[in-house]
């Protein structure tokens, strides 16, 4: 496995740990953190400072009954349900977005397939499957698009992206990702606005496929 070279920016990492990212971006960030030791360590280092700050805070009075309630709760509360775990190439946050089931791919034409995981006011989150050597129709978008490679690779004007790599594209990037020839590329893509395709026909298809 080649090393991950495209990481979460400071702003995205900070947005994730403070809970400020919209849900589709937060899922991509959590998936990247599942795969990338460097970014995981950045996040956990920040927690060490948080812990040191917690030790220094002026304590507040806790009511007398709180301690008894706490100890009683250890027996009463059932353990929390097992969260959905990682499976195959899909990290846990992606499996959770899939509802714990394998992806149900839908054909988009040209051998490209997708699964829409969510599409609402927060933006959209999808899995894309691109056959080896195939290009996704050229598109731009109204806002931010994050693309995380889960399998294979793709290349576009911004460089080459392999497993675990994250592409951060803002609205002035007009890109046409092409999958590497070594095998199909599967990626997780989040946008905060619908994609706009340059070619006429995909644009007509947009309402149909919600791409």
């Amino acid at each position: 496995m080649t090393a991950i070279t495209h990481h979460l920016s400071d702003a995205l990492l900070d947005g994730y740990v403070t809970g400020c990212l919209a849900q589709p971006f937060a899922v991509v960030a959590a998936a990247h953190l599942s795969l990338c030791d460097a970014c995981r360590a950045r996040a956990e280092t920040a927690d060490m400072l948080g812990g040191a700050m917690l030790d220094r805070i002026a304590p507040a009075d806790v009511s007398q009954g709180g301690r008894d309630r706490m100890m009683a709760a250890l027996d009463l509360a059932p353990p929390p349900p097992q969260p959905i775990a990682a499976s195959g190439i899909f990290p846990a946050p992606v499996m959770q977005a899939l509802g714990g089931r394998p992806p149900k791919w839908r054909m988009l034409g040209g051998g490209i397939r997708q699964v829409i995981l969510s599409a609402d006011v927060d933006g959209s989150l999808r899995l894309l499957y691109i056959p080896p050597g195939r290009a996704v129709p050229e598109h731009s978008h109204g806002g931010l698009e994050l693309t995380l490679v889960l399998q294979g690779s793709f290349a576009d004007s911004e460089g080459r992206f392999g497993p675990g790599d994250l592409e951060i594209a803002d609205d002035d990037v007009d890109h046409q990702p092409t999958a590497g020839v070594e095998g199909p590329c599967i990626c997780l893509a989040a946008t905060d606005a619908p994609l706009r395709f340059r070619a006429m026909i995909p644009r007509l298809l947009q309402p149909l496929f919600r791409i």
């Binding site: 849900q23 060490m48 190439i89």
Partner: protein
């Protein structure tokens, strides 16, 4: 006392006793230490007295149930509990719970790396000392970032490597963080 425990803070030793032996007395020590601090943190984050206490109970219950996931190579008890409380507070403010990365586990039967844990503890101690030395204004900025900044509607701008990489990077990061705090102190 073996070297491996000598470097832990008391709360980390209590948390390890909860993790390894479901030790209720140790849990009570954790509660006595952290409940007043967590409550203060949550009230700084805008919760009222009563609901702050309820959330403290939720957080400490998660500590009890998820103690098996605590890894002293990557965090001390304060950092680990801080993150649980922070995520709980974030979830209260978000429409959907914050998705979390895969849980990482030490490989079955692996021995604790005493030298690493010792070094992490030393870095954490140096970090605390560096915190003591910053100005009140700078401390205020950190407190706001760590206790008060919360999610809002604005959108802010097969783990391939062995776990050891994360561990050593956390140490390097702490070293950098401490140097940064020391630099802040310079006029």
């Amino acid at each position: 006392m073996p070297a491996e425990t000598a470097s832990h803070t008391d709360p980390t030793l209590w948390l390890l006793a909860v993790r390894d032996h479901r030790d209720r007395a140790a849990f009570l020590m954790l509660f006595e230490h952290f409940a007043p601090r967590l409550k203060a943190m949550l009230m700084r984050g805008g919760l009222r007295d009563g609901s702050a206490e309820d959330v403290v109970q939720d957080v400490m219950l998660v500590v009890w149930h998820k103690a098996a996931q605590f890894d002293p190579h990557r965090a001390d008890a304060s950092a680990w509990i801080y993150r649980i409380a922070r995520n709980r507070r974030i979830d209260l403010a978000r429409r959907k719970p914050l998705p979390e990365p895969d849980a990482l586990a030490e490989p079955e039967g692996s021995e604790p790396d005493a030298a690493h844990v010792l070094a992490l503890g030393q870095e954490a101690a140096l970090l605390r000392r560096a915190l003591d030395a910053i100005s009140p204004d700078q401390a205020r900025v950190l407190e706001q970032a760590y206790f008060e900044d919360l999610p809002h509607s604005r959108i802010s701008e097969m783990s391939g490597l062995p776990l050891g990489t994360i561990k050593s990077r956390i140490r390097l990061g702490l070293d950098r963080l401490r140097r940064h705090l020391n630099d802040l102190r310079q006029p």
